[in-house]
Symmetry: C2
Subunit: 140 residues, 2 copies
């Protein structure tokens, strides 16, 4: 349904949330820890930056960091900045009085609204907490 | 998220449900009423037939018909026969003890399960009833 962009972009931004307070994080560090090729990651980071979810500093000590708290960034913000408009089927002409077309379009619209709601109701901080809890479980 | 196949395949099969009891329906009739090119429609019909959701007769009076009641065909049956496995992100290697990867994969899995549940809980007969109700509304 989504491309790998949504998956790796989400991993990258959770990693930045995890390292909040440690100064800018280099793309290379994100790439290595999150198992994503650095060139591909840089494309994702530039899209997240364009959407103003993250910021960057240049130079030797430069890197990336969240532009606001993780609790203020929903998964919807991240996914829509990487994947564009979320829709179940591409739009097409709807003939007036075409009851089957109207019904099927309404059926997809409900699935779309449910998915968007799910993406909106969860934020980066919540996924980070979940990952932290999981991490503790590994080491118990 | 889905291709046009899911949309037009669903319209075609609802049209067949609507015409249950009228004998086999020609592809041309479905194509014209559902505004879909006949060659493309024939591809969808062959996939639906392969999945044993519809049947066909050859010859001059041949055509397509549902192979079971519309109430026994879920939207999931139709969509998965046309689009294959439903998954939010392509599968990839998961490193052991990678808490962020595990969390993000779990997040997609929940979205996937919710969508599959939604597609499974609705059947063709229900969408047909909805379309019929809509049709009556147009003509009131």
């Amino acid at each position: 349904m989504f491309s790998a962009k949504a998956h790796y972009g989400l991993k990258a931004i959770i990693y930045l949330a995890k390292n909040t307070g440690k100064g800018p994080i280099q793309a290379k560090e994100i790439a290595v820890t999150q198992s994503v090729p650095v060139r591909y990651l840089e494309l994702l980071l530039s899209q997240l930056k364009k959407a103003r979810l993250i910021n960057s500093n240049r130079g030797k000590l430069g890197g990336y960091y969240l532009s606001k708290p993780g609790s203020a960034i929903s998964i919807f913000d991240v996914v829509s900045s990487l994947e564009g408009k979320i829709s179940f089927v591409s739009s097409h002409e709807v003939k007036e009085n075409d009851a089957i077309e109207t019904t099927v379009t309404g059926f997809w619209k409900k699935a779309e609204d449910d998915l968007i709601g799910y993406l909106q109701q969860t934020n980066i901080e919540e996924l980070l907490q979940k990952a932290n809890t999981g991490e503790q479980m590994y080491y118990i």
